[in-house]
């Protein structure tokens, strides 16, 4: 059985202007120790999926349907005090721009101790010992725990926040763009460290990023999101070498690389849709070069094209690879 089984998850935000269809009918599974990458552009619903899994949603958000079964327990109907037992110990999260979320007037170590004591019955001394271990794990000198956030560099803050997420030995960690604000050399170190820790602790991970190159490095399986929907999901090599959804193909074709043949970049005309009024049928059809009449009317079903390769498209492209046509 999968560690996390998300089925037909639908989550909308209610606003004065109407409902924002942020997550619509999203289904995927994660096994213990597996890493899934969630990729897509800003506003496609990646972070909303993560926040739904953690049930850390603002008041105007409503989960309209679907299930989030973690370790055999469906989180959707669960009351807040029950969810709190799973949060951090079961699933924990490294938030986007987390390095700015440290409180500047408290020592970094104390902030992690506070998080630990919220969830585990440990004394201060035991918690300090735990933080020292976590610092070593993320590759920092434990002495740094008595310093303040302003004495940390960006990379160190990010490591501290990762240490905090690991504090209660979670079975799964959600990392939301944890390296986006960092320079490449620091990013490289953090990515390596995350990968090593994950394998060492046999922890499942959901890694969220807009950067397909970063996703390629950390994921076993990749899910591509567009306008609130999961449009394609497969193992990492398949997504890169044989993508079938026109949006995945477009994303690959628009992404520059420093290695390999320098093929012309193909840009995708148009803009992602407004999720207050998403287009009828397939949400990608206004920008899709392969769209047919059916795409404008009916939502394509998310189905298994071949074992382990899921797609929601009426006209999946089997030629694969990147699109060279400008």
């Amino acid at each position: 059985m999968a560690l996390l089984d998300v089925g037909h998850l639908t989550m909308h935000y209610t606003t004065k202007m109407g409902d924002v269809h942020a997550v619509d009918d999203v289904s995927f599974e994660i096994d213990a120790g597996e890493a899934i990458g969630l990729v897509g552009e800003s506003g496609c619903g990646k972070t909303s999926v993560a926040m739904s899994l953690m049930k850390l949603l603002p008041d105007n958000a409503r989960i309209l349907g679907g299930k989030i079964v973690f370790d055999g327990l469906d989180l959707v109907p669960l009351p807040e005090d029950e969810v709190r037992k799973i949060r951090w110990k079961g699933i924990s999260m490294v938030f986007q721009a987390a390095m700015n979320s440290l409180n500047p007037v408290y020592r970094v170590g104390d902030q992690i101790i506070e998080a630990i004591q919220q969830h585990l019955p440990l004394s201060i001394e035991e918690a300090r010992a735990k933080v020292a271990k976590l610092y070593t794990l993320v590759g920092m000198d434990p002495k740094l725990m008595d310093r303040y956030p302003h004495e940390y560099s960006g990379g160190m803050k990010q490591r501290a926040v990762i240490a905090m997420a690991l504090a209660c030995d979670p079975k799964m960690i959600i990392a939301d763009e944890p390296t986006t604000a960092l320079d490449v050399i620091v990013q490289d170190r953090i990515l390596h460290r995350i990968d090593e820790i994950r394998k060492e602790l046999n922890m499942a991970m959901m890694y969220i990023s807009h950067d397909i190159a970063v996703i390629a490095e950390v994921s076993d399986v990749i899910g591509v999101m567009y306008a609130g929907r999961l449009v394609e999901l497969a193992d990492t090599v398949t997504i890169f070498k044989r993508p079938v959804h026109p949006y995945t193909i477009a994303l690959m074709s628009a992404f520059p690389s420093i290695k390999g043949e320098k093929r012309p970049l193909v840009h995708l005309p148009g803009e992602p849709p407004d999720l207050l009024n998403p287009p009828q049928g397939c949400r990608f059809h206004p920008r899709c070069r392969y769209a047919t009449a059916v795409c404008q009317e009916q939502v394509p079903q998310y189905r298994e094209l071949e074992p382990g390769h899921y797609v929601a498209c009426w006209n999946p492209q089997r030629k694969g690879g990147v699109d060279a046509r400008a």
Partner: protein, 327 residues
């Protein structure tokens, strides 16, 4: 492809004072943001400036458009000394010839001005009195940057536009005076992948159509590979390597460039990157030592590097310069 030399920068240096004590009137410490930087940009060329945050690439760009005055060094545009230009007609003439595109299209456009006002403002400043002419030129520029039909955009406000469209407006504003040289500071780093490729292609197209040269500032080497003819890699205010883009990226010579390139993730899960060989963390260039700036992090540095001054750029291959004692 290299035409005549358009922009020549020599020994360009900018120090910023660091106040250590509140009531000490004279600063004793300086950040060496840009330190003795020399390069040339040819007509029609896109010259890339890459490096990590804090390496001095944006400061260099701002010096070139006279948003900062250099501490020392010279900048020549078409043989004319740029630093001597102070005010009045000569400065206005300089602004017509040299423009800048900023990183964040959400901050660089005045939210209270319409798109027409934003793009027409440089024309008004430059003395284009006739409203009809301004309208024509703005409309023409908007279609050139792909905001078509221009009438549908002219009287809208920035908040009604997407990020990609806003950046196109910022590009139109920079290009409307027909500049010869444009400093583009991370013009695509705020944009999503599918939108970014379109703006990159637009900048390449405009180079051909308007015969403009760029200084293209970016931290993203993959973007630089697609945009730039030549690249300069900066580290703590110094240029450590300059050469043709593909050569610098595929066969980097300076140990810093090698680490930087090895650290860039590749969108191909079957590709194995080389190990990133670099020690420690980046520091701020406050009163840096006289020896090589990269030495504390260098995997190949030795005692001679410590006893020698910061290395100057040496030509190791035709057109490919490296600042390293060990090469």
């Amino acid at each position: 492809m290299p035409g005549r030399e358009l922009l020549g920068v020599e020994g360009l240096t900018k120090y910023f004072p660091v106040k250590k004590r509140l009531f000490l009137s004279r600063a004793r410490s300086f950040i060496h943001a840009v330190d003795d930087v020399t390069f040339t940009v040819h007509e029609g060329e896109i010259f890339g400036l890459v490096g990590e945050s804090g390496c001095g690439k944006t400061t260099t760009g701002k010096l070139l458009v006279k948003l900062y005055e250099p501490t020392c060094g010279s900048i020549h545009l078409d043989g004319q000394d740029v630093i001597q230009i102070r005010r009045g007609a000569r400065l206005r003439e300089f602004r017509r010839r040299v423009q800048m595109i900023f990183q964040d299209p959400y901050e660089s456009l005045n939210p209270r001005m319409t798109i027409f006002d934003i793009v027409a403002e440089p024309l008004a400043v430059q003395g284009v009195r006739s409203l009809v002419e301004r309208e024509e030129r703005v409309a023409d520029m908007l279609s050139k940057v792909g905001l078509t039909p221009p009438e549908t955009f002219m009287f809208r406000y920035p908040h009604e536009l997407s990020g990609g469209q806003r950046q196109r407006v910022a590009i139109a504003r920079a290009m409307v005076l027909g500049p010869e040289f444009v400093v583009a500071d991370e013009p695509t780093s705020m944009l999503d992948v599918s939108i970014r490729a379109g703006v990159m292609k637009l900048l390449l197209e405009l180079r051909e159509v308007l015969n403009v040269s760029y200084l293209y500032i970016t931290h993203d080497l993959a973007v630089a590979r697609y945009m730039c003819d030549r690249l300069a890699v900066m580290y703590l205010g110094k240029v450590v390597e300059v050469g043709p883009t593909e050569e610098v990226i595929q066969e980097p010579l300076h140990p810093y460039t090698r680490a930087l390139i090895a650290a860039v993730p590749v969108p191909d899960p079957t590709y194995r990157r080389e190990p990133v060989e670099i020690k420690g963390d980046i520091s701020a260039p406050i009163d840096p030592p006289s020896y090589c700036r990269f030495l504390p992090r260098c995997p190949i540095g030795d005692v001679t590097c410590e006893s020698s001054p910061h290395p100057s750029l040496k030509e190791v291959r035709a057109g490919h310069f490296v600042a390293c004692h060990r090469l």
